[in-house]
Amino acid sequence: MWQDLAGGPRTTVLTILPAYNEEESIRHVIQDLSLYFPLTDILVIDDGSSDATSDEVLSTGAELLRLPCNLGVGAALQVALKFAEEKGYDYTLRLDADGQHDPEDAFRLLSAVMSGEADAAIGSRFLAGRWLGKDRNYEAALPRVLGIKLYAGLVSMLTGQRTTDPTSGLRCYNRRVIHYLAHYHPQDYPEVESTVMLHRAGFRLLELPATIRPRFAGESTINSWKSVYYAFRVLLAALIAAVRSPVGI
């Protein structure tokens, strides 16, 4: 919660962490975040975890939404945005629950959106090299990087705006975007599709550099066979989002 001491308008920020079986890392991530953002509310969405993620979250005092079954990141994010809309938050900040996103970058996104520079800000792992030194740049397996570059090219083409990292999960939205996505949110790996969707709906998107830290614990949810399936699925979803008439805001 951000309260202007001079009695100005009250702005509220909700930090969203979608989590699936993150019992080992979630506590660290929440503690880390509350150091950087002591005045924001932290909401964890437990997407039907089979481990003790929920208990860990409750013991830290963060807010918790527990989905009764695993619905995928898209549905988890949507319920968080529904929550944000219902409770009247002005901004949402989304980070991964494994601690790979740096709160410092999140802060930069938040200030960009709060200043009205953009409706949605996205942290790009591929802008970071230039800004923050090579040593902290994003490194991943080649097929994955190639895939992301492919999506970046596709999204740039579809939206007519240069995009370097449409798959990034580090995002900040303002109230209008929250309202829009709370009512219609893409499923499973929703980042690429929602980037195209938001652009089609006329929101101003902004990419800012972001670094990737090693995860606190746990494994990536993306494995080889599933990733091929999801790669095509995301591709199709992005193409369809580009020809679909934007839903009224």
Partner: protein, 191 residues
């Protein structure tokens, strides 16, 4: 076409209609989903009884053999039903998602209310609605000075004559050692 084939066809189609009808009757199949099946069974029955129709249709469309028209139509029907099922699955997924989401939001609300309730009880551990301090002391046979064992704010409101309600278990616990004669008063004998 031999008589056996006709009988076999009629029995088959009738059996299918009967099975679908029975499933609906037992409420195992929703009537909305049964319509398509009944339609297909009905069409099959009509085509068997009036076999000329199939030949006429084949001629009209320009298909050489009526049999291949029948197979094509059958596959098309199966495809339609599968597509209809995919549509239904999509609707069900969306409803399921909405339900799960609102369940999560409601659970959050319940947890908040529970926390609030607990906080209100922790904030006033001496509350027991409807029982005043005097009533309680009388009921429990505790001397008035035992109220000194109460926390200051509870004592204050008792002094102001407010209707202080006391959670009896708490007060009982706090005053248990104090029941009976005042241990701090020396017994004076005037012998």
């Amino acid at each position: 076409v031999s008589l056996q084939t006709v009988v076999f066809g009629i029995v088959g189609a009738a059996l299918m209609l009967a099975v679908v009808f029975e499933l609906v009757r037992r409420r195992r199949l929703r009537i909305g989903y049964s319509l398509l099946w009944l339609l297909i069974g009905g069409v099959a029955l009509v085509l068997i009884l009036f076999r000329d129709i199939l030949g006429l249709l084949a001629q009209l469309i320009g298909v050489q053999s009526p049999t291949s028209l029948l197979f094509t139509a059958g596959i098309a029907c199966a495809f339609l039903i599968l597509l209809e099922h995919s549509l239904t699955l999509t609707i069900l997924w969306r409803q399921n998602k909405s339900l799960a989401q609102s369940q999560a939001l409601l659970e959050w609300q319940i947890r908040k209310l529970q926390d609030q309730l607990e906080a209100s009880q922790v904030g006033n551990p001496w509350l027991e609605p409807g029982v005043t301090a005097d009533e309680f002391l009388q009921r429990e046979g505790i001397p008035h000075w035992a109220l000194l064992a109460l926390p200051p704010d509870a004592l204050d409101s008792w002094h102001r004559g407010e209707e202080l309600a006391i959670k009896s278990e708490s007060l009982q616990l706090a005053t248990a050692p104090l029941k009976g004669p005042n241990p701090w008063l020396e017994e004076v004998s005037y012998d």
